[in-house]
Amino acid sequence: MSSLLKNIIRFILFILVQVFVLDKVPPLHQFIVPYLYFLFIIWLPFNIGRVWLMIIGFLLGITLDYFTGTPGLHAAPCVLIAFMRPFLLSLLIPQETTEQSYAEPSVKSMGGAPYSLYVVLLTFVHHFYLVLIEWLEFGNFTYFIGKVLGTTLISLLLIFITELLFFRKAKFRSNA
């Protein structure tokens, strides 16, 4: 399966799961909202250009936004993590070897510790910015801190489960 087709299917699946499964879960608490859709951006291949990465991030966010009725709320954090992703990756991995031999970020291609750090940082930044926008609209500091922490933890748990359930074969590029 080509990388493009695979990512288009992933895009649709992540949006459907977020809208029709995770958003329909009865809320446990005000601070705990399960988010998983941005894992799509984390999983995108290495070889996408920076501008395209942000445009894809924007599309992902705005698609979810039209389902939740808040155009722009999820698009902004998605663009932010798409913007940060290349910087973070270049910091965390030896670029020449990994980006040439593997297709996309995973535990196997980056190593356990760098990959977890990469996921944790992007998740935190995403939620921090998302809740910041909400906070500016409503204003309550305990809400801000509580929701950033609660949502980040639940998202990390969901990502961990997803990584275990859907084990991605770390494909070698052909010439490596």
């Binding site: 501008v51 698009a75 909400e134």
Partner: protein, 284 residues
Amino acid sequence: MKNIFLFIRVYFTFICFLVLQVLSIILLSNSSKSHEAFFASAANEVIGRINSRYTDFTSYFTLKEINRQLVEENNRLKNELKADFQSPDSSKKMVVDSTLKDPSHHFRKFTYLPAKVVGNTVSSQTNYIILERGAKQGVKKGMSVIGPEGIVGVVIEVFDNYSKAMSLLNRNSKVSAMLKNDNVSGSIEWDGADPSYLTLKNIPKSSKVAKGDSVVTSSYSANFPSNLLIGTIAAVGADPAANFYTLKIKTATNFFSLQYVYLVENVFYTEQTKLESTQQKFNE
């Protein structure tokens, strides 16, 4: 000139980032105010269609609850039927008025339109409801949405075949309400915490408030018919410094299993809101 191009080329990624960020924020801040946002209408038609596929499937699971609500509503309405009441003096002869027009000049203020709920969230801070009725079926902005058990929200955006309503469970929602006992009015808001509880503010401490009292829509509201149930008082909170109660209201409507609602149009809506807005200009 050359330097400008050079600058754009060097910072192209960053400029793209800024443009997309600003676009998102503009979309967000305009979303509820103008429905002319670009491609919003087309996007919402598509989303509405996907949502209605999903609800077609899930509606089977809530049929039992919907039936129960309908039976309860029918029961309530049947209890109000004129035929159930005996006039006090049966010996008196009824005089049939021959005039065709109703002499007391009754006129219709509210019209009702049934609608199916195709999209509904409760987990976010700004919850909206997508309804499968739009401008082609006569839905207008500002119509109120009521369920079989109590009120639900207000229509804020209208597309061709779908419309978007702001649910009571929205941080921006504000509905005029009153206590059923002594007609003291206040405003219903949501604090974003629990989807089954609302907050009623601005009830003066002079009014009698007890746990379990009904809270209904007030007659001041331009959207809602008066005396529709919103909920019952679950807890009475009083700030000793303030002159007002802050009441916790258990919602009458179960927002988790919303399937069918009625859209209510106030025929005099534009007239009433126009008057309210001119009054505001006076105050400024």
